[in-house]
Amino acid sequence: MQAAERPSSPADTALKRVPLHDLHVARGGKIVPFAGYEMPVQYAAGVLKEHLHTRASAGLFDVSHMGQITLTAKSGKVEDAARALERLVPQDILAVPRGRQRYAQFTNEAGGILDDLMVANFGDHLFLVVNAACKTEDEAHLRQHLSDVCIIEPLPDRALIALQGPKAVEVLSKHAPTVAAMRFMDAGAHKVQISGRAIDCFVSRSGYTGEDGFEISVPASDVERLATTLLADPAVLPIGLGARDSLRLEAGLCLYGHDIDTTTTPVEGALEWSVQKSRRNGGARMGGFPGADIILKEFETGASRRRVGLRTEGRAPVREHASLYASETSADKIGTVTSGGFGPTLNAPVAMGYLPTPLSTEGTIVFADVRGQRLALRVSAMPFVPNGYKR
C-alpha cells in the first residue's frame, strides 16, 4: 500500500510551532507540516468523527498559524485606514461599521487573487486575518502600498483559535456572556473569564466551517488556559486540519492556493457577492484596486470560466487536480478539480473546480478522470451543507 497523496516532507524546512503545540501532542494530535508550521491534522477521534462532532456540537480549532495584522491610520481615523486598504482590495471597506467584519481579497494587476482575508473595524483601527502561507508577503504588500498613510503591525504574540458548531455560543458565553448577542460577522474586543481572571480577546462571530461559531484572538501566553477550559466542556472536541478542510469544502468555501490563487479572478472564483456595488462600475468608489480593469470588465461580460460545486452519483471521491471533460470520451480537457474529497455530513463525495462558464450552470453533467476512468459529476449549488450562521 502506498499513499498517492502525501503531505510535504517534514524535512523540507525548519518548521515553526504554534503556542498550543504541547497541548496538541498531549491530546493525541497527529502532527503534520502545514504552511511552515507543525499542525495537528487529526486527533484520536479521527477526521470523520471530528467533522460530525463539529456539525452536531462544537469543535475547537487552532488557527494560530494564520496571520493577524492591525492597520492603523497615522491620522488616527479608521476611515483613512479603510480608504487606504481599498487601494488593495475590491471590497467596500469604508462601509464596514465599527464592530463588523467583511471578507476581502488582495488582488494583483492581472486581476488574480494574492490572498483572501477578513477585515474587521475595531473603531480606531482595522484588524486583518490572513492565510498562514501568505502572511509574510501580505505584510510586505501592505507596507509597500500603505505605509504612507498607515502603521502596519503584525501580531505574532497573539494566538487564534476557532470554536465552531451549533453549541459554540453556549460554550463560549459561559465565559464571555457578551458574545451571545453577537451576529454573524460581528467582531470586537471581549473579556473571556478563565479561572477568575479576564483575558482580553478579539472575538468575531465567524469561522470557516459553515457553522455558527467564533474566532478568538488571544494573547499567546493565555491561549493554553483558554483552550484547556473550552476543551473541558463536554460539548467540545479538539479538531484537526483534516476535518477543517472537509467542513469548509461542504460549506462551499474557497481554500486559498487551491480554489483561488494568483491565476483566478474574484469573478472566476464565483466571489462576486463579496464585491460591493460601490467598488464596481458606476459605484461611488469604483475601481482603484490592482487588476480593476480586468475584474470590473468581467462583472459586465462574465468570465470565461467559473468555480462550481460538483457532486457524483457514486462513492468514489474525486480529488484535487482531477481533469474534467465534457463527455465520457472527449480528449479535450475543459477544467480541473481544485478541491475534492469525501463529505462526512453528506456521506458522499463533494468537489469544486473550474469549468467554462457555459457549462457552469446547475445540473450540467461533466466527467472527471479518476485513475483512467471517467466518472460523471453534476454541477451543484453550494453550499453542499446548509450553513448555520446566526444572522
Partner: protein
Amino acid sequence: MTTLFTSDHEWLQIDGDVATIGITDYAQTQLGDVVFVELPKVGRTLKKAEAAAVVESVKAASDVYAPIAGEVLEVNDAVAADPSLVNSDPGKAAWFFKLRIANKSDLDGLMDEAAYKAHTA
C-alpha cells in the same frame, strides 16, 4: 495457513495456491477513516507490484499493490459496500481480493509477523 506481510503494509494469507490479501492494522491506523475502496475485476491477471486496488480515507487516496503476481479469483464485495470494515476489522473481515499464486517464489521476500512487527516498530 501462513500469514505474510509486505513492507508496504499488505498482509497475505496463504492457503495452498491461493493468497487472500488485505491491508494491515498499522496501515488502517495511518490512513484514518476509510470511506471508499475500489477492488480489481475478477479474472484480471496482476503483475507483481501492479496497482490492484485503491483505498481512500476522508483526506487521501492510496494504491494497494499486488504483492505477488496472479489471477484475481474473488473480491470482497462487503468491503466495497462498507469501507469502514477496513478500520474495524482490517485483518479479517476487510480482506480485499484473492489471487491464484502464479509464482511461489514471489513469496520469498515477504515478512513473517515477527519481522513485520519489527518493521513497523
